[in-house]
Subunit: 271 residues, 4 copies
């Protein structure tokens, strides 16, 4: 029963490499998370604990891949951005993709109980894809695309669930009310009917989450000036105690579309 | 903050399809399972509970994909074979691969506690690949390749761990003793030094595991004639109570290299 | 001015292989041949000399690639079918494709004057593609597809140019007359209006051209029984003088859709 | 004989697109040109007429593709560089590649007699590939790589053929003499043994050929200051008669590795 006779089947394997000198994104999406969220009673429009679980997993991924320089997430989705010079797994596309999808999934299940109040009813799953971007502007635009999407979704969901949960509308009615409305209409509806000023909603929900490594001094400044734009398990004192010039992986909820201040504060993030 | 300006980045996405009318395999491999096995005190050379966990996950995958007709596994690896006519996810390669890798991982973590006596210390991960085979002979040879590999590995591991655990050899010494030996040498060593007749080792370990849907009557016959070649949570009586002609997903430990009896008993399995 | 500093650019090259154990077709199509045909006064509906030039080029290609077992052509298009076991250029897709496209083009220009009565006015060009087929039935269906296409096109063109050249219709009027007609309508129109029995049209035009290597005895039989289904520069006597069992590259105009007689006479052609 | 039954075979076709926003090169190489050059008595080390034929073909390609901004060639090889924003053939890789390879080949045969003193003995062929470069620096380095290669090859060939044609060495002996030598050794050998100052060799041979569209005034300046760095069928007077600001496709033999003067004079060439 030697296997030499059958080993030829190995030659049918392919090993595609990601084009050199390009940025790429590993984007992970929950499969059937509408149903999964219902089965686990996720709060609407945003379940803070479920989001924190996603952020925890994303931060762990970032920590384990030095060449993953930024992750951006919302809802059941996360995008991991890699440096254009990375040689991770020799840039083997399938190896990179499947490894990260698997690690993400494993951690989501593994850390579930640390964050969620109910036991996991059944195993969730995620699919993933790799998208390649050749230029700095392209990858910036990708990041902007995801954050603009977060804004649009969150405004919609905030209005929708206000109508359902506070306005006693059916889901069908809420959908009909919002159909065709513009951003300003939804802002107006939230304010006039529910007294909600959308601008005052948490940055966490409005901006989604951005995971990066940030320098101690920038973290401290942020904790002082805009504490709602950062989620970090460390206290200000603990951060201050870090050594000069050290970096910490942080989850931010700040604008990453405009150049200022984020990209000016992190000029080398993408190279 | 409309996202229309950035949506162009979606056009960088690719969507490769698997060539029509070909068989394909999704093969999943544990990453760093040597260390993972040690951290969780897996028994050597085979941890029956860890293998049963792998088999449980594989069986669940098979149950959820009608077009996955056979899975074959050993150790921390599993291969899922799909019908050549499947239109699963429109044959989108990345979608199929990442979904199955993610489901496999999620279930491995989720069902862990049902099988393993120690808590999971840290989340494991798997990588995956898709390999395409154009002909019936090719896919049969792939299956044979994996089972021949199981034989080779298990014989080696049985001898290696006999030397270490019963023979008081160091791992280095055991390796040196086995270096360059043929199958018959390992058989002889097992017998002369440890009184182990390798042929009497469990079929489960010698053949690995093969998951298929099998007809009630074949299952009953197997349970009567070769009960060590099947793992099934149902009793003979429960199987007998199934309706005439019905199929059940079973884990087998039988030869799938020779035509007879396996392939003669399942002539339509691969089409 | 050493080039070592720049050689890294070579690593951006890719080298895709054609999946092992699959048939593949190199299909070549004339670019802008409507205009090219007009500029060179091709006869309508079929210019026999231009077709013979195409056939000559195809035959030369077949002769230079032992693993190219059949070519099928019509109008300004030719498909070259390769054996599933071929290792030509190590199955490098781009190498195979570009080499054959280039050879085809070069020979078309080079042999032009041997066939055509007018000098070439400007250089023509062809594009090409490779299509992979995993099964015998698939490749047979590909061949049938091209011949069925020849039938459809030739019937249409015969009717169209009869209307224009013999019926004094404008091209626009001829198009309008044929719009929506079925095969039998076109047959009927040809017969009633022009006294043309389409069945009596040359096999060359009705079937297109199929280039294969054929055994001496089969060639002789064909020359005797159905001389209109073969184009060959050799006389019957010259063929008879070939050694027993020898093969000759021939251009046929016979049915390759039905099993009988073509595929029964050439049972091993595709293997 | 409807073809609907067979049309499914069309679904086996693939249509790969070139990643958006990347430069790409179509590189064409002569196949078996060593033999082809001998059969047509090409002069050694450089046959000016054969090179002018290559340049003519390259210039015609450049003229027919507005998005092809530069071509660089030597010997039997040519590289065509496309703008990163091009949408040529919807960026379909195979369509772009095969079309250009075919056009190149057709023109090479078609224009042969305008340049070469002997009739073409047999049709030559070329293979081709597409290489994708994501950044400005990468594409500049590609261009530098080809020109550095020209330098190395031409210095070698100049020395080799001096030894053979003027030094009465056999080809084997010439090869042995040059084995392991550095550039300065070859320069020294040319000077000491044959009185050849390599620096005084024609720019045409030392730099190879670069085809671009150049502004009238730059052309005029070049014709006056460095006439040996340009090949153009127009006279200075004809160029001067062109309208202000107009562009002409020219063949240059100048340095394209250093920034100055070429890239400073053509700052927008690659965008």
């Amino acid at each position: 029963m030697a296997n030499t006779k059958y080993q030829y089947v190995k030659h049918f394997e392919e090993d595609e490499r990601i084009l050199l000198n390009t940025y790429f994104v590993v984007r992970i999406d929950g499969k059937g998370f509408h149903k999964f969220a219902e089965a686990h009673h996720f709060e609407k429009p945003n379940d803070i604990r479920a989001l924190e679980l996603m952020n925890r997993v994303a931060a762990e991924i970032l920590k384990s891949y030095g060449d993953c320089v930024l992750a951006i997430g919302e809802s059941d989705e996360y995008s991991f951005v890699f440096k254009r010079k990375t040689t991770l797994f020799n840039r083997r596309k399938t190896k990179i993709l499947t490894t990260i999808v698997s690690q993400f999934t494993a951690m989501y299940v593994f850390y579930w109980a640390e964050y969620m109040p109910v036991p996991m009813q059944y195993p969730p799953s995620f699919d993933g894809r790799i998208v390649i971007y050749p230029s700095y502007q392209n990858i910036r635009d990708y990041i902007s695309w995801r954050q603009a999407d977060t804004h649009i979704n969150n405004l919609y969901n905030t209005a929708f669930w206000a109508l359902v949960l506070k306005g006693n509308e059916t889901e069908t009615a809420a959908e009909a009310i919002l159909r065709g409305t513009l951003s300003k209409d939804k802002n107006e509806l939230l304010f006039s009917r529910f007294g909600i000023n959308y601008n005052n909603e948490p940055e966490f929900f409005k901006k989604g989450s951005v995971v990066i490594r940030e320098k101690r001094d920038l973290i401290l400044k942020r904790m002082e000036e805009k504490p709602d734009t950062i989620s970090l398990s460390l206290t200000k004192e603990q951060v201050a105690a870090l050594s000069e010039g050290s970096y910490e992986t942080v989850v931010l909820h700040c604008d990453v579309i405009r150049d200022s201040p984020f990209w000016e504060e992190h000029p080398d993030l993408l190279d």
